[in-house]
């Protein structure tokens, strides 16, 4: 027994791994994982679940807004620190990972007011009862043309044809590749994930839920959550995540952002609420 204990004591005294090399190894592994995921996401479905030409459908059939768009207001003033991309968290087990940018290029962000009024909901001029004091002065189309969203003037999203266009948004310009790799650069992320909304609830692997409510932001069921990372998933311990889940009848729209402190998320909530209100979905 004693000789085993002596060997164990030797092991305890042995130097650990170089933290820098360990971090690099982890980063490379993640890149490998994300590359694989991007490839699988880009792979065409054997039997397309929905018509392929979403952009055409929008142009001809019109976009259905999740909720009547708010009237223009003041410029967004959310000057908060940049946070990490890829915070959609894990959803249903068979769904794609949230850590990747949409591999399909999305249309470029358009100028304020450039949205074709012909595709807006007739009720768009009717402000929502709890309309925020935030102006979303730019808009773009993402998720392969399936969604459009307004965002604050001056915010950045990759240009049409680049990965992450109209999916990752930042208060400052950021490098898309770095954001996809998990670098703390993008402010928020919007994506449509396959799976029912309830499949995303109670399955926040590596996170503790701090708050949950169902705000009246859209005509669809919308759940807003605040989560705290436990350090067991992709984020370090203690990172706060605010995410919105919008039920799209089989798919779930997810808007998420993260920060190190609740005050930042509280400040950002108004902007996020407004952005969620502005989202338009072409659901056929």
């Amino acid at each position: 027994m004693d000789e085993l204990r002596q060997v164990r004591e030797l092991a305890q005294d042995a130097p650990g791994p170089d933290p820098e090399r360990k971090a690099r190894a982890r980063h490379e592994l993640l890149q490998l994982a994300q590359h694989e995921q991007a490839e699988s996401t880009a792979r065409p479905e054997p039997e397309p679940a929905r018509p392929a030409r979403w952009v055409d459908r929008i142009a001809t059939a019109g976009r259905r807004w999740l909720r009547p768009a708010p009237a223009a207001g003041l410029a967004a003033a959310a000057a908060v620190g940049l946070v990490g991309a890829g915070v959609l968290l894990s959803g249903p087990a068979d769904g794609p990972s949230p850590e990747l940018a949409d591999p399909d290029p999305a249309p470029e962000a358009t100028d304020p007011g450039a949205t074709d009024p012909g595709i807006e909901d007739p009720e768009a001029d009717t402000p929502a009862p709890d309309e925020p004091d935030v102006e979303l002065a730019a808009s773009c189309e993402g998720a392969d043309g399936r969604l459009s969203v307004d965002y604050p003037d001056g915010w950045f999203t990759p240009e049409e044809g680049e990965p992450g266009a109209c999916r990752f948004f930042g208060e400052d310009e950021f490098d898309v590749d770095a954001a996809v790799g998990g670098a703390p650069l993008a402010t928020l992320e919007i994506a449509i994930e396959p799976g029912e909304l309830d499949g995303f609830l109670g399955d926040e692997r590596g996170f503790d839920e701090q708050e949950r409510d169902e705000p009246d932001l859209t005509d669809h069921r919308t759940v807003r959550q605040r989560l705290e990372s436990t350090g067991e998933a992709m984020l370090p311990d203690g990172v706060l995540v605010e995410r919105y889940l919008v039920d799209l009848d089989g798919d779930t729209l997810i808007v998420s952002t993260q920060a190190d402190d609740s005050a930042t998320l509280d400040d950002r909530r108004e902007v996020l609420d407004a952005m969620v209100r502005s989202i338009g979905i072409d659901d056929g």
Binding site: V7, R8, D13, R26, A33, Q37, P96, A233, M234
Partner: protein, 194 residues
């Protein structure tokens, strides 16, 4: 308190559809794999440990989910890569010897990195004097904290074989340590004893 964290097997299965989840497996086991490799490949442990997880990721569809812990599987990959490293080094040495030069990488070879980690330890010297087939299971069990069953899995030998080899290794260790002088043991023949 019950541990409701997902098992390694669950994470690996989930990573087939959600690849980044494999990072949690990395977080759980990297240090242990590195410690294992530090006694096998010395300062190349960082490189080889990174390679272990890349190989594991690429081969995760072959993982047997009936094993909740991925430790034996990862140690098995690490063991294979360490041996591969030794073979490559040996080939290099052979080539160098053939052209008449001195080997330049010999100091990086073999499991005797233990001596580098604990140069003045009589225990390290005694372990190094063990025959490899007894030393490997002993180190996996005592240094790397694997159970007998896990050692059997890593070395791909029957459980009874692991028990007997570790038993024999302990007997030899005990014998060497009791005959070791109190100081640096130079009088015993220590590390140079074959």
């Amino acid at each position: 308190m019950a541990d409701d964290r997902p098992t390694d097997a669950e994470l690996i299965v989930a990573s087939t559809t959600d690849p980044p989840r494999f990072a949690v497996v990395f977080d759980r086991h990297y240090d242990a794999i590195h410690r294992f490799l530090s006694t096998r490949v010395g300062r190349r442990a960082d490189d080889v440990a990174a390679e272990v997880f890349k190989v594991a990721f690429e081969q995760r569809d072959r993982y047997d989910p009936s094993f909740p812990s991925a430790r034996p599987w990862l140690f098995g990959i690490a063991s294979r890569l360490a041996k591969q490293q030794h073979r490559e080094e040996a080939r290099t040495d052979e080539l160098v010897a053939r052209i008449g030069s001195e080997p330049t990488h010999r100091e990086d070879l073999g499991p005797d990195r233990l001596a580098e980690l604990a140069p003045s330890s009589p225990v390290a010297r005694a372990v190094l004097e063990l025959p490899p087939r007894d030393r490997d299971p002993l180190l996996l069990h005592a240094w790397d904290d694997l159970s007998y069953e896990e050692v059997a899995h890593v070395l791909d030998v029957p459980l009874g074989t692991v028990r007997s080899r570790i038993h024999r290794a302990r007997q030899q260790l005990r014998s060497r340590l009791t005959s070791e002088p109190d100081t640096d043991g130079s009088a015993s023949g220590g590390a140079t004893h074959g």
